[in-house]
Symmetry: D2
Subunit: 177 residues, 4 copies
């Protein structure tokens, strides 16, 4: 086990806003002298759906590396973009390829939702909470909803003060959780 906080950028879409938000969290942790690292699902092997699951789980190098981090980490941030009323399929596929129950039992998770529209991924975060709880991980109650996220960012920074206030508060709460 290690004390690095892993921030999962929960999509493999190229140039994803999720990765930008993951970087916002990374900087917040760094500013507090907390070790943190991004797990970017864009780096999954192209054939992960077949090479990374079931009897092949953990056999490729990149997958082994991600699995090791998820097993050793104790606290996670999940950055969740809203796709079709929930989170991206790739994020669940990523979870489906991890080790159980060691990846999640009694670990602590923080969720942040982003959307192009007005919902801020609220259903996506409800679904992921069900999944993480099922897997044994506790989820922080506070789950910022970054609706219309692109209009509230510039050059990779969040320009909406309310959003930043919620993120800073959540970062502190995850450290105390």
């Amino acid at each position: 086990m290690n004390d690095t906080i892993y921030i999962i950028s929960g999509t493999n879409r190229p140039q994803a806003v999720s990765l930008q938000i993951a970087n916002v969290y990374l900087q917040e942790f760094n500013a507090l002298n907390v070790k943190a690292e991004i797990i970017d699902l864009q780096e999954l092997p192209a054939d992960y759906l077949f090479s990374g699951l079931y009897e092949n789980a953990g056999k490729s190098e990149i997958t082994m590396n991600f699995r090791k981090k998820m097993k050793e980490g104790k606290k996670f941030v999940f950055v969740i973009a809203e796709y079709n009323g929930s989170f991206p399929g790739v994020l669940k596929a990523f979870i489906d390829g991890l080790e159980f129950p060691d990846s999640f039992t009694n670990k602590k998770c923080a969720l942040v939702g982003l959307s192009a529209g007005e919902q801020g991924a609220v259903l996506a975060m409800s679904h992921l909470t069900d999944i993480l709880n099922y897997c044994g991980a506790h989820v922080l109650a506070q789950k910022p909803k970054l609706a219309m996220v692109s209009q509230n960012m510039e050059d990779g920074k969040i320009t909406n003060e309310r959003y930043m206030k919620h993120i800073k508060l959540q970062v502190q709460q995850l450290l105390d959780f």
Copy 2:
């Protein structure tokens, strides 16, 4: 648009029970002289997560073929195995690669859940209902829960009479829906 009922076997796990259940539904529709066909996610391209989504959506042949069926079909059965408290990530990734809104708007869906344990994928079906409703598709209220599915099958047939009764009822309800 066409009248074939598409039955989505919602996992790419080799030798999946989902595919056996999809075949049970196929036979039920056939026995009623209703055209039906299975879409088996095991047949997705290995690199679907990258080749089948975002700017690449629908470019490979197999993906084009699946997308065409989902666009033309009017009624679907989703066979859903419980993975980590929800449905398999590959199923959501499949949905994420379809055309919107034409694949789902005002279409009719039936869901069936299977699990090794006692839940019968009840949360998985709740999550998928949220997603399908979001995409504009109506979901049949009746959603059979095939808990401890392996103990209730033999040679690809369902041996539990209550389960078969629920499936036959649901098949009829989907035709009337």
Copy 3:
């Protein structure tokens, strides 16, 4: 069974916005010459939680009357205000006091969500969909979300054109459902 569409104003809060929205639906149905009627939970007996449930279910006159309508109706509209991340407890208590399974099996329901904040009761509608599906009722996929509802109304009329467009569309879809 009868063809009146029952519109449930899902709160007992005095001067509720839900009741105003229920009236908007009533007028839409009337304009189409469709019989419709409001069931206003504000009219429940004060001691409904004890006089209307369990062994007392359906014994008081007002409760009998509501139960009869829910049993005879075939299509319902549920107007749902967001209270504490879901719908009001009184609405679930109302449902808990109805006859099963005759009140819901194979009936058709339309849901509309309202909120003071930005969510438009999206989780509330997801929860109620689970409940209605469990009880055997089909839920229309389209579920308008009337966020910041008070700012979008005046004198009991909805001033937001997009909201009215969604409501008119849903009314037509419920008739066709």
Copy 4:
């Protein structure tokens, strides 16, 4: 604030199994010398739906007393019976009458589900998790599902060893949470 753990028996049904389960938890806490106390919704005023909500919230003596405990307590156990695919309406009505945000912000909750059938209130616990998270309270990942609860009890004691193991584990986890 005080250190008593409040156990909410989440129904007002006379002779409820929920109250028996609440007593099982009470004994577990007592055996560990932890102060705990039951809040039994059967004791709500008969007219709570009208006397305990909105502008009347907290005006009657019994309601004031319950509200004070929920405001002062830091950890809660919610005993949840499955009614119509979710939890009893009276439980949500109880929550709707509490003080916000002081009753829940950053508090810790444990949920246990009971059902006559095979589901163990899994959807009910998902819905309540959404609500408690929305209100700012953290929910323990482990949520025992006591399916077919009556067959697994005798004289107010749980006879199913697996159920008791899960309860004892959860009690310890809530103390450590």
